[in-house]
């Protein structure tokens, strides 16, 4: 077990190195000048800037320097917020995105599994039909619409109530988190509900369920012990990448609800050609994602005894 985990972690490090290298060279070959600004920069001032940011060196040297610093855990400086280290940006804003993401993924995961099980249980009856219709709505309406509508609903509720039921925007207390997390988790929850339903129904007709039935095991026990447990597997599989998807894809929600998360920084960085932040966040998220995938694989083995960790 420990050997397996160590082996996986080593592979993870190599994966992250690949990600860093690929991103570094793609980024430096993209059009667009990180030093350009709305008001033109004279060649002399530009030269000064380049020297300051180390962009005057050949790209291979820059790559070497970057990798060396990265190994030491230093992602360099942001180009747009020039006084801040990328490390500080990640340190300040990742926890916010992570909290939002964890809540969203829990809402999506718990909700998806429960709704999915419910629909499978009541297959083709009204709860199933209603939930599936809601799921379709959840997936076919983009998150920016949900965010906007959700916020507008908050305004209406607060104005009708005459006091603040839940805050409209901002960050800091539990009350600030609920609606953004819900909006963020909605799409994934819809997806997981469908996935869970499908996989539940498949298991209903599988051999071991049939055997259990024939043995006279009570339905409730079959349901919880065999069906649920086995049906959760594909849900867990997609959970890993979804975690990263949700934490990075929080851009829209963070933007609308004024949440100081990392998603805003990344999109802004791409538009601004902010090499420091692009690299820092990509590598950090890459590492985070690889870690999540490893975790999910371990979780997989825990849930399903048939899968062994080699």
């Amino acid at each position: 077990m420990i050997r397996y985990v160590l082996w996986r972690l080593l592979q993870g490090v190599i994966t992250v190195w690949f990600i860093a290298t690929a991103t570094f060279f793609v980024m430096h070959n993209l059009p667009g000048d990180p030093l350009a600004d709305e008001k033109a920069v004279s060649p002399e001032i530009r030269e000064n800037l380049e020297k300051k940011l180390g962009l005057d060196k050949p790209i291979v040297v820059q790559y070497g320097l970057y990798m060396w610093n990265m190994v030491q855990g230093d992602f360099g400086l942001s180009f747009t917020e020039e006084n801040r280290e990328v490390n500080a940006i990640i340190r300040d804003h990742f926890p916010v995105s992570a909290i939002l993401g964890v809540l969203a993924i829990v809402i999506a995961g718990v909700g998806g599994i429960l709704w999915g099980a419910l629909t499978a249980l009541y297959r083709n009856r009204w709860p199933d039909v209603v939930i599936i219709l809601l799921v379709i709505l959840g997936i076919s309406v983009p998150s920016f619409v949900f965010a906007t509508v959700g916020q507008l609903a908050l305004v209406t509720i607060n104005n009708i109530a005459g006091f603040q039921v839940l805050p409209v925007a901002g960050w800091g207390t539990v009350a600030h988190m609920l609606v953004p997390a819900l909006v963020l988790g909605l799409g994934t929850m819809a997806f997981l509900t469908r996935l869970m339903r499908t996989s539940m129904l498949e298991i209903v007709s599988s051999d071991f369920v049939r055997t259990a039935k024939a043995k006279g095991v009570p339905t409730a026990q079959i349901f919880s012990r065999h069906q649920l447990r086995n049906a959760v597997l594909p849900v867990i599989t997609v959970l890993g990448p979804s975690i990263a998807g949700i934490t990075t894809g929080g851009f829209v929600v963070e933007n609308v609800f004024g949440i100081p998360g990392l998603g805003r920084y990344f999109v802004l960085a791409v538009q601004q050609n902010d090499y420091g932040v692009i690299m820092g966040t990509t590598v950090f998220y890459g590492a985070f994602l690889v870690l999540m995938v490893i975790l999910v694989d371990i979780l997989y083995a825990v849930v399903d005894p048939r899968v062994r960790l080699e």
Partner: protein
Amino acid sequence: MSDTLIPSSPPAKPFKEEVSRGSAWQLAKYALVGLLFFVVLLALLGLVTANSAAGTRSTSAVDYATNTITLTLSSEPPQLNSTRSTDMVSGMVLGHVMEGLLRFGPDNNLIPGIAESWELDELGGTFRIRSDAYWSNGTQVTAHDFVFAWQTAVNPETASQYAFILFPIKNGQRINEGELPIEELGARALDDFTLEVELEQATPYFLKLLAFFTYYPINKEFYLSTGGRYGADAEDLIYNGPFRIASWVHGASVRLEKNEYYWNRDETKLDAIDFAYILNDANAVLNLFATRKIVFAGLNSENLDRALKNRWRIQEHVDGSVFFLELNHRPDRLTSNYNLRKALQLVHDPAELVYKVMKLPGNLPGESIFPVWLRGVHGSFRDEYPGPRFVQDEVKAREHLAMALDELGLDELPPLMFLTGDNPVSNKQSEYYQRLYKEKLGIEVKIDKQIFKQRLAKMTSGDFDIVAAGWGPDYDDVLTFGDLFASWNANNRGRYENPELDKHVAIAQSSSDPVERMEAMDQVQKILHDDVAILVQYERGSVYVSDSRVKGVSRRAVGTDPDYTRAYIVQEENE
């Protein structure tokens, strides 16, 4: 295996049996566990964030008890080291917490700031620093602080993008280009309270520059004590303005509190200004306003009706910038042909753009590169020098197009590249222009939509025929617009070159006779129009809603905007 062959026989429905109550109960139990888990998690996360500083304090728009108003910022201030700031948000925050030799008064005129008095002639002068000006750590503001800040700004190692604004000071440019040591800058402290300034050449608008943030003072001792982090955090700054930054949570909030060390503190009426949200989604900002969380919200053409239905108080403001289509004058471009440009100009209708496409009051259909608010000799520049009248004429436009095709030796014009940004406003406009030129002249326009830095790169390298651009004033003088299309100006991205125009710009730069300067600028606007250097689109205005309980807010085109330094709260009127 024969049963697989009976698809249409009524199936035995083995699974549509009664839903087992047991299973449903089981599920309900799981649901309860899931909910419990969620609540516990929520509580834990709430605890974690409550202990970290990143929280939004739950405030209302106006807090009578603490004498505080709450606002939003459209983005995190990227750079509060005044020698290196370039953007509007940083400029706005700095304008509240710092003060230069001069500052803007309530009627948008320049009034003495840290400088009590001054004598200035064509090539320099002395400024008398007031003796009651202190930094927020208690040290005195001296002439040395100005010298240090200005030397730092032109120092090549600082790599300030706004170093050019100090170039009127003697040797400024040469120091920035690394030819001279920074000590050679023409600004010297004769003693703690006397600042002597030498100018490179006559600069009639020099006084107007002094309220600009690059000219703010910096305390040398404190600057060096921050170890290169000056301006990075609230603790890494000291303040000599009406307010100080009490807390700055990156990406979340900036809170300003009254600066008790400010020399003119009696004029500061608010105890605190809380930029409690960093938010740039217009609808979200309006939602905060609707729930009375903030005192100010900008409007756009899309959410205007909502403000009207809610009967909010709407005001307008001209923000000072002028927007125009820059045509590419590089010789290998089609747009270097005069007749083609003339054709484009003759069907261009700024009024239609403003009234039917942009749909927002406050914007004025563009007539000249010089906006209406600029001052001339005595009154408004545009009243004194209205510039050429501009008339649409489709028939003439087609004649010019035919001539252009003739000169270019083409039967049909290849598509023109219209470079534009990725924001909704420029989107709408570029689609409008595409259709306009197609319908009126049969010219194919291709829209090249690019994200911010890519667009700038293309503008600089000249990879466009038409580009939508804008210019916001840096200082309150006609020249901030007037020298834009001088052949040496790096912001002249269409590389328009006209010796005649250069000559007039040179006059305006160095002449100290206001009439001569304004006449030169009048010539500039005539040349820009007659030679179709650019197509002026509009002067940007904005409309906004604000809380009627807050008074004394100044809006201005140049300088800190909006300016809350003299704002105060009144009791609710009739609500």
